[in-house]
Subunit: 303 residues, 4 copies
């Protein structure tokens, strides 16, 4: 369980005291505020704050004096238009701030998204908690034989058991040694900024992470994708469900045009037109490489 | 007067309906929401939305589960520490969204601050309003004789009158011609995206502009500075007063360390230490150029 | 003609003195260095500097010790793969610096691309040149009747003549008045930072603009698109031809996957699969709005 | 030794073939190209490419047609002026691309500088090398008693020996286990993207890192500072020496105004003026907190 009773009590206390505001309010998002959505074995995603709602996107696109339009239906139509034509700035007018607890190897992928604000728990200043990500058995996958950066089948019994044993004992030992090096009982105690180097990449860290809706959609498109590593994908999927409650119209457009959509090359478009005209198009007469053709076939077959 | 009765009524209606929220609320900022702070002859600054307060800075710096500390005094001390030591990320955790009406030549300086989100009124899509910035007589300054990008004394009578006449008649004529070119009465009507090129740089535009508190402070430091052009400085000063109400502790630290503070070079520090030790330091033995020495003297004299 | 004899002589002198370097060199780009590619009536694009070539993209993607692969063909294949799968960071490893002369209303669109470095000629510090963009007759288009931000047919005789007359005389008068306000003959002379506000948006400015290849591709995709305003599109097209000489493999991939490609929504993909399976799909049973269906039909028809 | 004979031979081969270019060339930087500057026990910094020199800063600041001024002395004066008055965009016109090998805990600090381009060696795709940072004995420091994120005295004999033993054996064991989990001899072999989670933060990674001179100076100011952690500071110091050879005038200005300079608060300036006027200023009558006063005293004492 990721939260201590003290932390739960802090969250409850923050949720107990609604206040008045004149700002745009998203009821769907208010329901999420401060609550911890559990991810992996010790991680979570918590919404700390947000700015804007679907109406704020329309309001900014129109540079209007009041709120969005009266009719929610018109707003949704405009939002779909903006998404379809790659307008990015109106979506940047919504902002969200999350508190995330995540393994360091996930944090290292996540931080590559540069258009965001981050405050991470400091292992120079503070002592890390004894919490490590240990994959569930069904996530213990072999190296893919066809994709250098993918997973294959789930590991079999003895091999799986050995991997779990290694991960657990190495994590425990490295943390024991971390504590021993830090300890000042009868000795000086190594500096925190040095002792942390012994800790493996599956230890949990946490941060406050803030970004705008446009950049969040970009993050979700890459990280909720089936090619993303499972351990970051579950965070992205959790956030996606929250966003669907926050800005339902924008999320609907995002799902249709980005998550569920696809990009075709000029060659792909040409093949498609020939196929619709009844021509038998093959890799040989497509102008595509074998790899591209395979991806193209999968796309039009829908798998 | 910058606002029409319709616009005022939209603002009043937005202010009339407080709602509940669990988010951090800044009472000082709620009082500003949606109201138009008048700037120059037709411009304004309106707060459309905000995220966070002083406590949110502390909360992010500590990556904490609850809100900031109980004691506002401790928060202020930590905020001063963060500002003094150039910590930027906790200040990035607050965000503000403004609706600004401003002359195009001011907008062209403003947009140079790239870490911000902008939706500008489109002159490709819409027709510009007939509103131009005409300087007040006391702002009609001569070219500075000592500073290539500064102002000297206020212009004298006939010259001032002639300048005002030029600005007013050219603005009126260019707008008449803009309307004539657009007009479709008995003719085709020039495309809006072309007709706008006839409009001078003192016509007003408007935009939604959103940025975080760290980048806003950077904007204020450069644009509320006495070397900034008057016409952008008055916008910066208006925003500064709003920020003082929004995050009083952070603004206090900003005023002390950034606006009121100064940076000394290694040479400047060396001279200062020699002066404090009783030595008579002059430009000749300072190691500085004449220009640097003049700026150094002004700094320690406090003018 | 955009360049004075002095400027041409500076350019010739810069081109006359090749030096040795150990850096990656793109012969295609060396041929462009410093030369002015004329755009519109007084504008230009000049390459001032560049970093990297096709090999540099591969080298960075592989984090390799030496240069790219031996075989240019392998490089091109990898570059196509990176483009197809939206890898952006290897393309960020190439950089280009341009000197551009352009009308202010074009500059105002251009500057919206924030991930770039800009030094613009300062009208606070310096005096602007008397150069204005006056559209060629075939560019004098009417407002589109179907697209609020587009152009329709070219204007007819008397209306066209009147528009050109307005643009020319207003430009000339505003510049005469600009000079008169600045003049210090027998008077003080208005500050440059104020006088400039009388100049219309078709006056030319110039800047140094530097960006990386990934962001440049994004710029080209939006600005060389047929929906972009003609006056910025000609700059984008000029730059596109330069990029094709600089990094031919990357440009080829960009043309196929971005410029010539298209994005389909989930609904669009679904319709396509049904059509390929022989079903008669219409707007009514497509799940799309009329506007979306029209765009979808154009896409698969290839016009 | 960080480089294999193959890598050294690739570097030698890249250095053996100078080519002609018309671009700005910095002779000081050409001497560094591709060479590995060793840092820590297995790390390095290598210059892969650069754009611009001191003249390019001046050229951009003036938006000029040719190169910088004729006189290097004038260039240096202008560069000092630009640095003193916080002009950032001319410095952004120079760019550098580095290949860096560094421990992961250092990479995690480094990546916080967001305005940069990065391609990191992928542990999803590839297998990490068996190279770990083990501090030299004189860097094995105790936790500071006064600064939560600093180091105190060097550790004594038995404690130091025990720390080194832990770091070495844990690194070796974790890597042995990493290889065992990956191994496909007689079993499936765990996916690389999972196996890497067992590796500690002192394992070396490598990346291509590209940034502009303005942002590089910001990086150096924070990371070559005496408050920075030693392990990143040595990288910053290595880069600083390279930059001094690349753009000597800009680096000189940076040293004087940023590295050697200091920022005083409004309160600090006020105290200083009172001290220069002969007043005895103490913490009590300074208006500063004890912490601020201590820092102020250190600043004016020069230690």
């Amino acid at each position: 369980m990721p939260l201590t009773p003290d932390q739960i009590s802090e969250i409850e206390s923050a949720r107990a005291t609604p206040r008045h505001t004149l700002r745009a309010v998203s009821e769907g998002m208010e329901a999420h505020l401060y609550r911890a959505h559990e991810v992996l074995d010790h991680g979570f995603v918590r919404v700390i704050d947000y700015m804007g709602d679907d109406g704020a996107i329309v309001q900014a696109a129109r540079v209007s004096y009041g709120a969005g339009t009266k009719a929610a239906r018109d707003d949704a139509g405009l939002i779909r238009y903006l998404m379809r034509h790659w307008h990015s700035t109106p979506f940047e007018m919504c902002e969200v701030k999350l508190h995330v607890k995540l393994p360091i190897f996930v944090a290292r992928q996540w931080i590559r998204h540069r258009t965001a604000n981050v405050n991470e728990y400091s292992a120079r200043y503070s002592i890390m908690d004894r919490e490590f990500y240990i994959p569930a058995p069904e996530q213990l996958a072999a190296q893919s034989q066809v994709n250098n950066q993918g997973r294959g089948a789930v590991l079999d019994g003895p091999e799986a058991a050995r991997v779990l044993e290694i991960l657990k004992t190495d994590a425990a030992r490295s943390y024991d040694h971390y504590e021993e090096m830090l300890s000042q009982e009868g000795k000086q105690g190594l500096a925190r900024e040095l002792a942390r180097m012994n800790l493996p990449a599956n230890i949990y860290t946490q941060w406050y992470w803030k970004t705008d809706l446009h950049n969040l959609f970009h993050f979700l498109r890459l990280r909720a994708d089936r090619h993303a590593q499972y351990e970051i994908r579950v965070y992205a999927e959790t956030i996606a469900r929250i966003v669907a409650d926050w800005v339902p119209a924008a999320y609907g457009a995002f799902e249709d045009y980005r998550m569920g959509g696809a990009t075709l090359s000029a060659k792909g478009l040409d093949c498609l037109r020939r196929m619709l005209a009844g021509e038998a198009v093959t890799q040989e007469n497509s102008g595509m490489s074998k790899g591209e053709w395979r991806e193209f076939e999968q796309l039009i077959a829908g798998n």
